[in-house]
């Protein structure tokens, strides 16, 4: 079947769609976008607000505490939240400027894959690096509070070592599981779909 023949069938098949009126189109402009960039923005906003609320809560808590491991741990956590706040604000500025739909389909897919991948990488790195770091920081502050000798003496006990290893394993397992569940819930298989579309273009 030649292309011309297909074109003639296509022309006869002008689908009967319900035309939209000008008012309906005008109302559409006030609607909310469901694009992946909007979804990314929404998630970043949610995380930014969550980080700020946690920081304020921790600040209040830290101010009520007398000097000790919990206080220093809270302060270090607030500092980390501050760093995350800066990252989130930078991300939002970047996403607001991001308009890949103007590009051709291939460039748009490349751009989206890069953005979603870097977003997912950021999370995975955060979860795999930050949790062990915080676990160690917790131990360090506990050590400082108890005094090095008493801390190491306690740490050398097989029961404590076993308990800490089990706790670290559980902590890591749960956080990784939670991160993977969250990311899957947010983006599902969308990244895979984008990659397969790009490989289809490369054909």
């Amino acid at each position: 079947m030649e292309l011309e023949e297909l074109k003639s069938i296509w022309k006869n098949s002008e689908p009967l769609f319900q035309p939209k009126g000008e008012t309906e189109i005008a109302n559409m402009l006030k609607g909310k976008s469901i694009s992946i960039v909007e979804k990314l923005k929404k998630n970043v906003w949610f995380e930014l607000i969550f980080t700020i609320v946690v920081s304020i809560g921790l600040l209040v808590y830290a101010l009520l505490l007398t000097s000790g491991a919990a206080k220093w741990l809270s302060i270090s956590f607030i500092l980390m939240c501050l760093a995350y706040t800066i990252v989130y604000v930078k991300k939002l500025i970047f996403l607001n400027r991001f308009n890949p739909a103007n590009e051709n389909i291939r460039a748009n897919l490349v751009s989206l894959i890069e953005k979603v991948s870097s977003y997912l990488k950021f999370y995975k790195r955060s979860y795999t690096i930050l949790y062990p770091v915080y676990f160690c920081l917790g131990l360090l502050f506990a050590g400082i509070e108890r005094g090095a000798d008493a801390f190491f003496e306690n740490l050398m006990k097989p029961r404590t070592m076993l308990l800490l290893t089990a706790l670290a394993g559980l902590f890591f397992f749960l956080s990784t599981k939670a991160a993977n569940w969250y990311l899957k819930k947010l983006y599902g298989n969308h990244l895979e779909k984008l990659k397969s579309l790009l490989s289809d273009i490369h054909g």
Binding site: N12, S13, P15, L16, G31, S35, L197
Partner: protein, 163 residues
Amino acid sequence: MVIEEEKKFISLINEHQGLIHKVCIMYENDPDVRNDLFQEIVLQLWKSFSSFRGEAKITTWMYRIALNTAISGFRKQTRHVKTEDLKELHMNISDAWAEDREEDIQRLHFAIRQLSEIERAMIMMALEEVPYEEIAETIGITQNNVRVRMNRIREKLKKLMSN
């Protein structure tokens, strides 16, 4: 100024809404999801409207944004079209479409829905008489590549339509 811009945009969409409807029909079976996709395309066009300087044809610009939105959109996974969907499509269009070519039309739509999303974009533009140069520009591949791919798509359609 903004109101003027909005009016201009709405009249443009009104004039070319057939193009958006066709993209939506190519990519969505479900009427509600199709409606959402229509709105999303309009929103993306509006977002890019201020940066459109008329260097490309208005329809080329619209195809690019509409197809980008439909292809990379964050929607429910499009299910493969089944015979029941075909019947549904047939029911919707049978009143308006020429009786004698109805079967060919049905088979063409059914066959197009079996193609990959990129192939669908290419064949749709080709059937709409968009020149290969513009198809290449919209997809982001060379004109030679478009020619090769179009031959393959035509073969696929031929097979699908004869089954």
